[in-house]
């Protein structure tokens, strides 16, 4: 918490990915500092299956605790949370999660936009939003809302993305704070 409270700003990293981003996320997780003091929230588009194999796969890559986010769960530093399949994951201003099974957004549930937008409203300038490889535009609107709340926005360098469409859409839509290769993303998170 020391790092988080130093300047009174609570930090959070929200990472959105779609097609071609699973291996990027696994790469990032494997290189995160074991003493990372910031919560990481991952929204990954995937098929609607409620098995927990994805969070188990992620947990193998890092010493940080990894779990699917539960409804009304408190968001704690140093934890990695995965949005559950078939629900939107929202962040409340009291720094809890809540779930929502409303309409799909950009054909997606979970939607990256929903989590990015609510993270921006709950954490303000403490948010770092990272958009990875993908074939649709989910997350672009969310990044712009994070920026409007003075957060930091990052996209995967499209030239390193398996499907460059999603990060490229963000680059075309607004000035991005950092465009990073897959190799650079974990170091960037580690020094936040």
């Amino acid at each position: 918490m020391a790092q988080n409270s130093l300047n009174g700003v609570q930090k959070i990293v929200v990472i959105g990915g779609s097609a071609g981003s699973l291996h990027v996320i696994l790469h990032i997780l494997a290189r995160l500092r074991a003493d990372l003091n910031i919560p990481i929230v991952i929204i990954l588009h995937r098929k609607n299956d409620s098995d927990s194999s994805l969070s188990q796969l992620m947990a193998f890559r890092t010493d940080l605790p990894v779990k699917e986010a539960d409804d009304k769960e408190a968001i704690l530093p140093g934890n990695v949370y995965l949005a559950p399949a078939d629900y939107h994951l929202l962040i409340e201003t009291d720094k809890n999660f809540s779930l929502d099974d409303s309409e799909k957004i950009n054909f997606s549930r979970p939607s990256i936009d929903v989590t990015f937008e609510t993270a921006a409203e709950a954490y303000g300038e403490g948010v770092t939003g990272i958009l990875l490889s993908g074939a649709n535009a989910d997350g672009v609107e969310g990044l712009s809302i994070i920026k409007a709340h003075k957060g930091t926005i990052v996209v995967q360098d499209p030239s390193t993305a398996q499907v460059p469409y999603m990060p490229q859409q963000a680059i075309d839509a607004m000035p991005i704070d950092h465009t990073l290769t897959v190799e650079q993303i974990p170091d960037f998170i580690n020094q936040l």
Binding site: L90, S98, S102
Partner: protein
């Protein structure tokens, strides 16, 4: 940048809804509510928050639209097929031992889950001695539910869910198609009672052997979730079942000591 309807404005709207129309949304989870209110604000093209609020306060018809639009009414038949398989294999055989079966679908929305349950009961030869109480706070969705009419476009998905949940019949035998809609057999709806009921403000109205309330509690704050669990406990016979959505749990509720989870699905049995 802030959304047009911020937290202070939402407080005003929720107070208006409570004072003028008797709908209490004050203990609903805020992030979702805020998104839906802003979605409605954009959808209906209000030039300012003041006009939005004026409209809501002075037009009772608009309050109905407000309720319809800010409550989430997304549902499907046989959602989470493994859950339905569990109902079929573990819950229905127990219900079969009763002379008369009463089931409550709390927050049934447009009724897809009620029709799913009626199909399970029919296949277990229990429908004739069952009554399905389907309630929602929103009369508009209940009206839709009571017709048993659903879009044809959904049937492929529902049929796949049905089979994944252990269904062995040809799913299309349960409905008649007309243009782009289908109507489910009236034999199914003949055992259903549709009624408005507000989980936030109304009390228990019967005793049930099974209460289904899936993906409703996620929209409530923790304290309200606790109050609704107490209401369900009051409404459930001893040895009855409570079935929740895949990400909802009784674990953190004060009534958990009276319940035992049945298998891995979100089905609890009242044992004390």
């Amino acid at each position: 940048m802030d959304t047009p309807v911020g937290e202070q404005e939402i407080k005003l709207l929720l107070n208006d809804m409570l004072e003028l129309y008797g709908f209490d949304f004050t203990d609903y989870a805020k992030a979702s509510l805020k998104r839906r209110i802003n979605r409605l604000f954009t959808l209906d093209r209000f030039p300012s928050f003041a006009e939005f609020r004026y409209h809501l306060r002075n037009d009772p018809d608009y309050s109905k639209r407000f309720v319809e639009q800010i409550t989430v009414n997304v549902t499907e038949m046989f959602r989470d097929p493994v859950f339905y398989q569990n109902l079929r294999e573990h819950v229905l055989p127990v219900l079969a031992t009763y002379p008369f079966i009463r089931i409550w679908h709390a927050g049934c929305s447009t009724g897809e889950e009620v029709f799913s349950m009626a199909i399970l009961l029919k296949e277990a030869n229990l429908l004739h001695k069952s009554l399905l109480y389907a309630t929602d706070l929103n009369p508009v969705v209940l009206q839709k539910a009571s017709t048993g009419i659903f879009p044809m476009s959904q049937m492929k998905q529902y049929s796949e869910n049905y089979i994944a949940g252990g269904g062995t019949e040809d799913f299309s035998r349960y409905y008649t198609a007309s243009y782009n809609m289908v109507k489910f057999d009236e034999e199914l709806s003949s055992r259903m009672v549709f009624s408005t009921h507000n989980l936030v403000s109304e009390s228990s109205f019967n005793q049930f052997q099974l209460i289904m309330c899936r993906n409703v509690l996620i929209y409530f704050e923790k304290e309200l979730q606790g109050r609704v669990f107490a209401l369900f406990d009051d409404s459930l016979e001893n040895l009855g079942f409570l079935a929740l959505g895949s990400k909802e749990t009784l674990k953190l509720s004060p009534i958990i000591s009276k319940y035992r989870q049945e298998g891995k699905e979100k089905i609890w049995r009242k044992i004390h």
